[in-house]
């Protein structure tokens, strides 16, 4: 083959005879904007290349020009359906530099919203997975049941998706009075519902035929590629940030981390169902704890000690137009200067480990924020798992990884 023209940053890929290149994307009806180059020989995929960087939005650079607190709504935009999990490590890292530790009630409230978000995120992923396989019932069911948890999150924070809930030193709202009973009802409902999910989707022979033994990611390969989250737990690796490095209130809660050995698409779907079950347990435990303990310590003393009487009145609902159980932010949040230092934090988000590295040089904006999102670490698996399968297996594998393009390219 003669020399192809070379330009910096340009990649020339010779395509073999009898091989066609198919582009999945750029606008995908199921998942948002992304692109995968697939080379097919007949019906068999021989080469799969996810186009990393296609919807890059310069999150890290934007963060360098914004005040510390303004980055919380910015980072939420990476995965709005998993908003609390996505912003929490940033808040934790800044708290480490500020050297403050949120009070226990704030930790439980954060944990509560994290688990609500995890369920909503898994249900969203399962709904998309279902519609990829042509199973539109599951799509309707999962999105309808997700509404229960979106409603819980709305009751707690005042917004359906972009909660901006954790702030430095605490949280922005306390639970409403009727929240515990609603959360328990939702948990009982969802537990029954998961059995029906298994009947209509996961144990349905039509679906099993499409998923069993498809897209097998074995233990070694998963470790090699650095896959995270439910996907790695479906391959038999016991790795979960809640297990290896408990954060917030997770070291006081009793729950299991489901591990599956198979590593195929079916196991990746099952691990999510089992995780929803565990998240429901965590929600019930957190709600019990919050009910038992008095409503105090939702914000670190450094930001609440000097709060005027008006702030306490608003929290107690004495001002009629202002709502109830709202935690006011001190005006110093608007011009917060974080002392020089560096810190990192990670949490287990819905799709896997979410990591932030934050560096401050003492100004009112961060010097550097590095974000490593779970979908970015999972997407590389497509390149190694998909070749050898038929093109019709692409949606099955793609959906089973529950991957989210805006979070992949942030």
């Amino acid at each position: 083959m003669e020399a192809a023209p070379r330009l910096p940053g340009m990649e020339v890929r010779p395509v073999e005879r009898h091989v066609y290149e198919v582009q999945i994307g750029p606008a995908h009806p199921g998942s948002g904007h992304m692109r995968i180059f697939v080379e097919v020989d007949g019906d068999i995929m021989v080469r799969v290349d996810p186009d990393i960087g296609f919807v890059h939005r310069t999150m890290e650079k934007l963060a360098e020009g914004r005040d510390w607190i303004k980055n919380i709504p910015l980072f939420e935009r990476m995965a709005i359906l998993d908003a609390c999990n996505i912003t929490l490590p940033y808040v934790e890292a800044v708290e480490k530099i500020l050297d403050i530790d949120p009070p226990p009630r704030a930790k439980y409230l954060r944990t509560l919203l994290c688990e609500i978000n995890r369920i909503a995120s898994h249900l969203y992923g399962m709904g998309i997975f279902g519609v990829f396989l042509g199973h539109s019932t599951l799509y309707m069911w999962a999105f309808g049941d997700r509404e229960v948890f979106v409603q819980l999150a709305e009751d707690l924070t005042g917004a359906r998706l972009t909660h901006s809930y954790p702030v430095f030193g605490g949280v922005r709202r306390d639970i409403p009075d009727d929240f515990p009973q609603n959360a328990r009802k939702a948990a009982r409902y969802m537990r029954n519902r998961l059995n029906e999910y298994a009947k209509i989707f996961l144990n349905n022979p039509n679906i099993r035929k499409r998923l069993e033994g498809v897209g097998v990611l074995d233990k070694n390969r998963a470790t090699e590629l650095g896959i995270v989250g439910p996907n790695v737990r479906a391959s038999g690796i016991k790795y979960d940030v809640r297990l290896v490095e408990p954060y917030e209130a997770y070291d006081e809660l009793d729950f299991e981390i489901p591990i599956f050995e198979e590593g195929d698409s079916l196991a990746r779907a099952w691990v999510r169902v089992e995780e929803i079950r565990q998240s429901l347990n965590i929600i019930e435990q957190a709600v019990d704890w919050l009910e038992r303990h008095p409503r105090e310590g939702f914000m670190h003393d450094r930001f609440w000690k000097n709060a005027p009487q008006l702030y306490k009145d608003i929290y107690n609902g004495k001002i009629d137009y202002a709502g109830k159980y709202r935690v006011k932010l001190m005006p110093l949040f608007a011009s917060l200067k974080v002392p020089a230092g560096k810190a990192s934090a990670r949490v287990e988000a819905g799709r896997g480990e979410m990591f932030y590295y934050v560096e401050s040089d003492g100004k009112n904006v961060p010097y550097r924020v590095r974000v490593v999102s779970p979908s970015f670490r999972n997407v590389i698996a497509f390149k190694y798992v998909m070749p050898g399968h038929r093109l019709m297996d692409l949606p099955a594998i793609y959906g089973s990884f529950d991957y989210f393009p805006p979070e992949w390219d942030r």
Partner: protein, 210 residues
Amino acid sequence: MHVPAKPSPKEVPRATFLGRAVAGNLGALAVGVKYFFDPNRITLLYPHEYIKLRQGYRGYIVLIFDKCISCASCARICPARAMKMVSINVFDKKLKKYMKKKYPVINYNRCIFCGFCVDVCPTEALYHVPYHDLVYNSMADMVLTLEDFQKEPEFVTAKEGVPVTYIYDEKKGLVKVHYEEEGGEVQKAEGGQASAATEAQGEQAQGGGG
């Protein structure tokens, strides 16, 4: 360190060939038939019904002019730069003279409804109204003047629509009920027109499973 979380190995349920062919298909069909006759419907017939959101929802923002102390905290904390301060001549009651003061105005083209401005206001001069479905005629209208910012925006849907709210239910998840203003008593929504329209949608949803 105490770590109560523990990994628990699980297995994907395996079934014999007969079990898979018979029990798998029958189970799926049974669930499909069950929801064909008794579906979970949460569809909102939007312009005819609207969700009566509870207080605390982060909707549109209104300024209480008399409480504002011109501290500009709201403009400084706004992550989307939607809040701006404008200078106007007002009569100061304490100093008994006209003077220039700054007051916030909001640009709803930019606002992301994070509520930081409302939470940071030291005198609670801003508050959220619990609705979010408004229409503006042009982009220019969405940049509010100081006068407009003090008025609660007109909630057009509430004029014709029926207020509904969703309550949690152990069997059904969310159940749509009519919202009643006083007493907080709620009744099941079973209007003839409403159920006829959701019927069609429910059947569509069931089509894939059956």
